[in-house]
């Protein structure tokens, strides 16, 4: 998803920058990541 962020600099300049904030399709959810991470630490 493309969004626009406003950049306000300390010297007064202002810019608008478009950015893509989509995460990759194969990124894990927090739950999935925790399951993998905790499994990796199992003793």
């Amino acid at each position: 998803m493309l969004i626009t962020r406003k950049y306000t600099y300390g010297d007064g300049r202002v810019e608008y920058v478009e950015e893509d904030i989509d995460i990759e399709d194969d990124e894990l959810s927090a739950e999935e990541a925790l399951d993998i991470i905790t499994g990796g630490y199992a003793e």
């Binding site: 998803m1 969004i3 962020r5 406003k6 950049y7 306000t8 600099y9 300390g10 010297d11 300049r13 950015e19 893509d20 904030i21 989509d22 995460i23 990124e27 959810s29 927090a30 990541a33 925790l34 991470i37 905790t38 630490y41 199992a42 003793e43």
Partner: protein, 290 residues
Amino acid sequence: MALIDKLTAIANAIRAKTGGTATMTLEEMPSEIESIQTGITPSGTIDITENGTYDVTEYASADVNVSGGGIESGVEVIELNSVGKLAKLKLYGDTIPNNGFQYCFYSSGVRPLLISNEPIKKIGGVAFSRAYVNFDDEFFDEVTEIGESGLTCFQDKDTELTIPNWDGRNGQATAEESIFRTNDYAWRVFNLPKVQYIGDYWWYQSNKNLTVQLGSIGYPVLQCKQRPFGGTTGTSTVTVYTRGDLLDTISTAIKNQAGANYTFIFKASENTTYGGASYNAGDTMLTISP
């Protein structure tokens, strides 16, 4: 030996014990003997600094200062609630090991309050992952190392978390990932004034409204890995202290894939310059907002 010599020897022996010097008759000898005190009169103090067995017969008192002992590590049950469930636990030792409390009390309906017998210094990897626990107010005061996913827990006691002496790492060159990667705790305000190394996915996909401070004057954020706020939603404000020469790198990383309603405020950790302008410590150099 003549009889008189024998009697003299007996009298001498008596005087040696009584400390007397006077002569005595044979009739006086029994009472003199009976008046002789047996045993030792204790006096002085013995200093004991190590475990062991000591003869203290001659001493009037003992001054014991043996270091160590007691519980070195483990958990002590301090309090149960009204229905007999764990309410308070005291932790011994300064380290929460990897997996230490992983899944502890999960969905059990209890959240024991954890206190520590001595300051906690290290929280291991996934140490509190999915754990239902609360922490007392001083728990994190001296923590300097936190492992991967160390605080992905279900605490509900406090909405504000302060870790005053942690630089973001785990005793290694860079920070580990996913430290706070969960929506399951009540923390909404994170005060991390000495954090200088930020890891991957620290608040990844958080759907809460957060207020986060990273670094402070004198403690610039030096390194930020990818997507600490990636995939987030909610309306949040993140204040980052850093130097002018690091600002572009840090800002690019820290806002990467952060939610549309996130505001990032970058302040000078020291007198510095950025974009040709000079800033005093504490000045805002850049604000990235919706």
